[in-house]
Structures are given as C-alpha cells and as structure tokens.
C-alpha cells in the first residue's frame, strides 16, 4: 500500500520535472556565467583548469564552506562517537606479511599520487578534494593492511587546523592587501600553464588537500577505532 502511494507521488513529481526539463534541453549552448568563466578565467585567475578557477576563485567562498562541512562532519562524527563506551580493546588480527609489505610499498606511492593531484589542481583535472581523498585512501590502506598501526591523532588535528587556517588567512590577506576583497587573488598570476602560476590557487588547493586528507583520515580513524 505504502509502496503504491509512494510510487504515485513520485510519479507526480516526475511529471512535474518532465515539464520542467522541456526548458532545459540536453547539450544546448552554455550559459552566460559559465561562458564568462571560460572566456576570462585564464586571464583573471591564471589557472588553465577552469573548474579549479571557479572552485577556488570565482566561487572560493563555496569551497571554504565545503571545507567547513567536511571539518564539521569530522568533528560531528567525533562528537557522536566520543561518548561511546568502548568494549575493551579491539582484537587485532595481524595481517599477512605479503599484505603488510604491499601496503608499506604502496602507501608512499599513493601519498605521492595524491600530492601530485592536488599540486597540479590548477593545471590538470583533480585538485585538493580528489588528492585529499586519495591520501585518505592511503591511510585506509594502512588501516586495512597494517592493522596494528595507528594514526597520530594530534598530528592529524594540527594538520587539519593549520590547513583550514591557511585558507582563511589567505583570504584575509586578500582582504587587507589585494583590492580589499576577501579571497581575492592577490599574488602574481605567473605564467599560464606552469606549476607556479595562478596566484593563491595552488596554495589554497594544497591546504585543501591536506585538510581533506586529514579529515577523511580522521573520519575513518574515528569510525574504526572509536566504535
């Protein structure tokens, strides 16, 4: 009964969306804001990856919010799990040697890959979020492979905080120096398509990479260890 009602209701919503989609033809010419970004993005921000320039510069404030949300989730998760009573020590079954060695071998490589991704965020696809996630997956690998190893929580927290603060401080420097706008790209744009270009974007993306990585690691750590 409930299923039928839900299907009917969803069908009505579907109908509404179909009417709505008539005005959004698939694959049609792009819109004015997006056009502006593609046309002026390189000059204004110095990044070749327009998505990055949008994410970090035109809509950098959103990204600040987004980083905050991840931070929030990590903290919230910690708060939710913090009051949980632990049932003694978790039984750790040591992994096999092959697995361990493999993990140890892979771990720095994955870290390097993640770092590459977020350092080159303004040039190639990828950036702080993707890189951060990859770094987190490296730590996940450590958890799965070398189970007795633990993450230094304090270091994790400090990384997290400092990375967040770097973002904010960069924004605030923009407020004081560069044209008095928060998050304005006050640093020299450099030569397009080189590593040291596009002003504050790489710095912020690196900060985001660290932040996302440490936060996702923190989330996994909390879920694995605290519950």
């Amino acid at each position: 009964m409930k299923k039928i009602i839900s299907l009917i209701l969803l069908f009505i919503i579907c109908l509404g969306i179909v009417f709505c989609l008539q005005d959004i033809p698939f694959g049609a010419a792009k819109t004015k804001v997006g056009h502006y970004y593609i046309d002026n993005g390189r000059e204004e921000t110095g990044a070749t990856n327009i998505v990055t320039s949008v994410v970090l510069n035109y809509r950098g404030f959103d990204t600040l919010g987004e980083v905050t949300i991840l931070f929030l989730a990590a903290i919230g998760l910690g708060a939710v799990l913090a009051t949980l009573k632990k049932k003694g020590k978790r039984q750790i079954e040591p992994a096999s040697l092959i697995l361990k060695t493999g993990c140890r071998f892979l771990f720095p490589l994955i870290l390097l890959f993640g770092a590459y991704i977020f350092i080159h965020g303004h040039l190639t696809p990828g950036g702080g979020f993707q890189g951060g996630a990859i770094i987190a997956s490296a730590f996940l690998l450590v958890y799965l492979g070398c189970r007795e190893r633990k993450i230094n929580e304090v270091a994790n927290k400090i990384t997290e905080s400092i990375a967040g603060l770097v973002f904010i401080v960069m924004g605030l420097i923009g407020l004081t120096v560069g044209g008095h706008y928060f998050l304005s790209n006050f640093m020299p744009k450099g030569e397009i398509n080189t590593l040291f270009s596009s002003g504050i974007i790489p710095i912020i993306y690196i900060a985001i990479g660290f932040k996302v990585g440490s936060e996702l690691t923190g989330i996994i750590d909390n879920l694995m260890e605290k519950s």
Binding site: K2, I5, S6, I8, L9, L10, I12, I13, L15, G16, F19
Partner: protein, 618 residues
C-alpha cells in the same frame, strides 16, 4: 499630583514591598500598608480633578494617555481603599503563610494594574493594564494550591479568550481610526456604521462579560473566589470582577456613546435589552444556586455573580436612575462583599481554614465583630433599609418599574428573595445556633483583622443613611456619559415619581425600633439558654453527634438540585475535554517513523505540483 507619579508609586511600591520582604517581614508589612494607604491618600486628593496627560509614546508611536475624570476617580478610590483594607487585613491573615512576599507583591501589582485600567485614557494602556491584571490575578488565584490550580486555569483561559476579543476590537479601532485615545475614538465612531458599532459592543461585551461573570460566561468565578486567600477573594469580588462593570460603562457610554447604544436594534432585539435580560438571568439563577452551596466562600461567590447581574441590569437599562443605581450598586456590592469575605476569612483564620457551612455554627459569641460584620454584610446584600444595598437596589427597582419592565423587576425581586433565603443560611450556619464542640477554643481574630471589618460595617451604614455622598460623584459620571442629571441631596434622590429620603426612613426605623425594643424589654418572657442546651423529642442530645446546621435547606436542596446545575460549566468542560482529545489526536501525526515523515515531504511537493499542473492556480 500627576497621574504618572501615582502609577509609578503604585507599581514600584509593589516591587519595593517584595524586595523589602527579603529583608524582614515586618518591614514588608509596613511598606505594604504604607503604599496602599498612600495611594488612598493620593487618589482622594485627586477628587474633582479633570486632567489628561500623554505619558509615553514609545509603543509603536501610539500616544499612551492617562486621564482623570469622575468615572475614573470613583473607581480608583474604591479600588485603592478596598485594597488597602484587604492589605491591612492580610497582615495577620497571611502571617504564617508561605510566600507572603509574593502575596503582597501580587496584591499591590493587581491594585496598580486596576488603577491603571481606570485611569487609562487610551485603549492600549487599558489593554496592557487589563492583561497585567489578568495574569497577576491568575498567579494569585493559584496561590492556595490543590483546587485552586483548576480554578486558576479556568480563570486564565476565559480571561485570555476575553482579552483576545478585546485585542481584536482595539486593533480594529486603531486600524480604522488611527487613534486609540478614548475621547478621539468616541468622536470618530459617531459617524461610522451601526454594524461596526454593534461589532465593537459585542466583542467588548464578551471581554467584560467574562470579567463581570455575566451568566453564560461566569463559570470561572465560583471556583476562583472560593479557592483564593480570603483577603484576595474580597478584592477579587469587590473590585477586580467589577472592572467588567467599568468596561461596560466605558464601551457603552463613553466610547460608543449613550445615544447609539440605546438605539441599537428594536424592541426585544436591541443590544441593551438583551444585555438587561442576560443581567436578569444572572441575578436569578446564581442566587438560587448559591442556596445549595455548603462552602461559605462559594456561597458568597455565587452571590457575587448574582449581584453583578443587578449592576448590569441597572447600567444596561439606560436611564439616569438605572445607570446611577448600577454604578452605586457596584460600590455597595464591593463594600458588603468585601466585608463578608473578610468575615469568612476571620472564621477561616480562627478555625484553621474551615469554611464548610455544615460543620460550623454558633460562632456569634466567640467572634462578635465578625458576626456583626457578617450581619451588616448580608443586610446590605439583601438590601435592608438603612444599609447601602437598599439604596442602590431601590434605584434599580424603581428604574425597572418606571421603565415598564415588569418582568425584569420581577426577576430582580426574585433575586432578592433568593438572596434572603441563602444569606440566612450563611449567617445561621456560621454564627447562630450551636457551637460545635471542637470550636470551643478558637484563636482570637487579631486587631488588624477586625479594623477593616469595623470600617466596612460603618461604611455600609454610612452610605445607607447618607447615600448622597457617593451619589454626588455618580451623578457627575452619568452626566458626563450624557444622561440627565439626578436631583441628589445628602439623604437621597428626589424625582417626580417618588423620592428617596433616607432621613425619613432612618427616623421611621429609629422610632419603630425604639418602640419594639421597648416592648421586648418590658414584656420579655424568654430565658436565655446555653448554646448546647438542645433537645430533641424531649431527650437530651449528645452534643458531639447532633449538629443541626448540617444540610440546612435539605428539602429545597433535594428539590432544586436537578435543576440548578451549572450547565454552562459542564458545557465548557465538555468543550475543553473535546479540544483536549482533538489536540491529542492531532499530535499523532508525528508517528515516530521516519518513512512517514519523508512521505509528508514528498506528499507536500507532489500535491503542490499536482495542483499547479492541473489548475495552475499559482
């Protein structure tokens, strides 16, 4: 003396009393008495002052006004003096009670808010003060715990309904005319439509009807009176309830205006006739219900409702005599009902909280002052000549008879008969007859409780013999309202169709009284017997088993019980229960299951989209 200062003293006095109570209770008592007496003094100095001041403009830019005129003064002096008496009375009555600081604070706050109501020159001030009065009253009604809680809720709910009606009325005036100044509103209202005036009258009548406990809206009153501390019951019945009368005067004769009010509708279906009849019903039924009560305070409470009916009949009838009678009756009623409540309070005090008419009796010798207070009080209530009640009732009767309203007059008379019967029960079961064994040794009522009783008793006689004193002020009130002036002298009222002269009556009664007293003295054959000297069929009755105040009107009780139920109260209770169960079922929509909550969300979207796609109404 400016009116702002008066109110500042009144309100800050309340707070001061509370704070001083934190230091010591003696200091608090002193401050409370000083403040209340000070207010009496200030208000009495304001006699015959006509003034109007804007005291505040910060409330949405509305000029809040205080004004003094004869109507305001008449009520103000009554409020402050009765409150002062009750405060003095409370000094010993409330001595060992918990939260006495709170009690005094509330008493003085209510006093101040009532004062503000009568002094208000605009409707917003009036409303604000009215609300402060309502909630502070609620807080004090609930003071006695237990049964009082239910009474308090009943009171505040009805009060809230009333004040919400009034708020709508006031704001509709404000939005229509852009002013809330009572005088301006009256001017603006003159040319507006009859329907609007009727709307205002009805909506305000609900508010004031609830406060004045007109018959279908009276249900809060008996419980509230009975459950409050006695001095507060006195204030409640004497003045606070009569704010309703003040309100009726204000809306009928000041705001809407006499000429309009008396010509709304035709014949029986006119506003004031209906109000008169409601008043008449309010006189008759509660008076007879009162007869069935076994709780002394409840009995008085039902009389309070009944007497309110007299006032409404007098005021609503709309002649000079009637209005004067109604207003005068308000004052008189306050005098004797306060007196009666204080007397009952004295008994309560002495017998440790007993007020059950079945188990008391014979307290005459133990508490003579309370007895005389009670006696004079019920005489006033009945309207025995030489008491003030006589004068006002005479005015009302005369109005009804002259105004060709025999049925109303009959109702009023019926009310008086009922009153006689039931207050006799009151007096008898408390003071006369046999003293129950356990009350042989009772606490003596202290002086501070007796002084107010004595003062009030004296006032009853004073206004009974010299009705001209208050009638002079009342005359100026009714003249201000547009009525013809009465011909007043110090002894009474003169008119073409009959003259009331208390001097003659006083003289006649004095002479006859002297004669009868002489006859009794000379030809006395009875012998005084002991209070316990009772016989039944020739055999001595065991004192502790027989008590003849029990079920005093038993036959009548059996006869009247089925008919004299408070059907309105039952009706309202039924409604309240129904609302409660509806409320209970409404909250069942929050089932606790998330799926259904998400379903609500989807349903909301789907139905809106469906509506728009089908009818495109947005």
């Amino acid at each position: 003396m400016s009116l702002e200062l008066l109110l500042i003293i009144a309100f800050s006095g309340a707070f001061l009393t509370y704070l001083s109570g934190k230091i010591s209770s003696q200091l608090r008592d002193g401050v409370a008495v000083l403040i209340s007496l000070g207010l009496v003094a200030i208000v009495s100095f304001l006699y015959n002052v006509q003034t109007e001041t804007v005291f505040y403009q910060g409330f949405f830019g509305i000029s809040l006004i205080l004004r003094m005129n004869s109507l305001a003064w008449f009520f103000a002096i009554a409020i402050v003096s009765f409150t002062a008496l009750c405060i003095i009375y409370s000094l010993s009555y409330m001595k060992d009670c918990e939260r006495s600081n709170y009690y005094y604070f509330m008493m003085l706050l209510i006093n101040a808010s009532m004062l503000t109501i009568v002094l208000a020159g605009d409707l917003v001030t009036f409303f604000v003060a009215w609300e402060i009065m309502s909630w502070s009253t609620f807080l004090l009604i609930s003071y006695n715990r237990n049964g009082a809680l239910q009474a308090g809720i009943k009171y505040i709910v009805l009060s809230l309904i009333g004040s919400m009606c009034m708020l709508v009325g006031i704001l509709s005036i404000y939005t229509s005319f852009g002013t809330v100044n009572i005088a301006d509103v009256a001017n603006h209202l003159t040319p507006s439509s009859v329907g609007y005036k009727l709307f205002l009258l009805i909506i305000f009548s609900i508010t004031f009807g609830i406060k004045n406990a007109i018959m279908p809206l009276h249900t809060w009153l008996p419980d509230a009176y009975a459950e409050s501390p006695s001095p507060f019951s006195a204030v409640l019945s004497g003045m606070l309830t009569r704010m309703g009368v003040f309100g009726f005067l204000l809306i009928m004769y000041v705001i809407v205006g006499m000429k309009t009010t008396l010509h709304l509708g035709r014949g029986f279906l006119s506003f004031n006739t209906i109000l008169c009849w409601l008043g008449a019903i309010t006189i008759v039924i509660p008076t007879f219900i009162a007869m069935l009560q076994n709780d002394a305070k409840k009995l008085l409470a039902w009389h309070g409702i009944g007497q309110g009916g007299y006032m409404i009949v007098g005021i609503a009838f709309g002649t000079s005599l009637g209005a004067a009678g109604g207003i005068f009756h308000t004052l008189n009623h306050a005098t004797y009902i306060v007196l009666l409540f204080l007397s009952v309070g004295a008994i309560e005090y002495s017998t440790n909280g007993l007020r059950d008419l079945n188990s008391l009796g014979g307290l005459f010798k133990k508490m003579p002052i309370a007895f005389f207070g009670g006696l004079l009080g019920i005489s006033g209530l009945i309207g025995v000549p030489l008491t003030n009640g006589f004068v006002s009732k005479w005015l009302i009767y005369k109005t009804l008879i002259l105004g060709n309203a025999p049925f109303l007059a009959f109702a009023a008379l019926l009310g008086t008969w009922g009153t006689v019967l039931s207050v006799y029960k009151f007096l008898h079961n408390l003071f006369l007859g046999q003293l129950p064994e356990e009350h042989k040794e009772i606490k003596k009522a202290p002086l501070t409780m007796q002084i107010p009783i004595v003062i009030l008793s004296f006032t009853i006689i004073l206004f009974g013999i010299l009705p001209g004193l208050p009638l002079k002020v009342i005359n100026s009130i009714i003249v201000a309202a547009g009525f013809q002036a009465l011909d007043i002298n110090i002894w009474g009222v003169t008119s073409e169709t009959g003259t009331l002269n208390m001097l003659n009556i006083f003289a006649a009664i004095a002479v006859f009284g002297a004669i009868f007293w002489g006859i009794f003295k000379v030809a006395r054959k009875s012998t005084p017997v002991d209070q316990y000297d009772n016989y039944a069929a020739g055999a001595a009755v065991p004192k502790n088993k027989y008590h003849y105040t029990v079920e005093y009107y038993a036959p009548f009780y059996r006869m009247g019980k089925p008919f004299l139920k408070d059907i309105f109260d039952m009706f309202y209770n039924r409604i309240a229960e129904a609302i409660g169960s509806i409320c209970d079922s409404v909250r069942k929509i929050y089932t606790g299951y998330v799926g259904s909550y998400v379903m609500y969300i989807v349903l909301f979207i789907a139905s809106l989209i469906f509506v728009q796609l089908t009818w495109s109404i947005f």
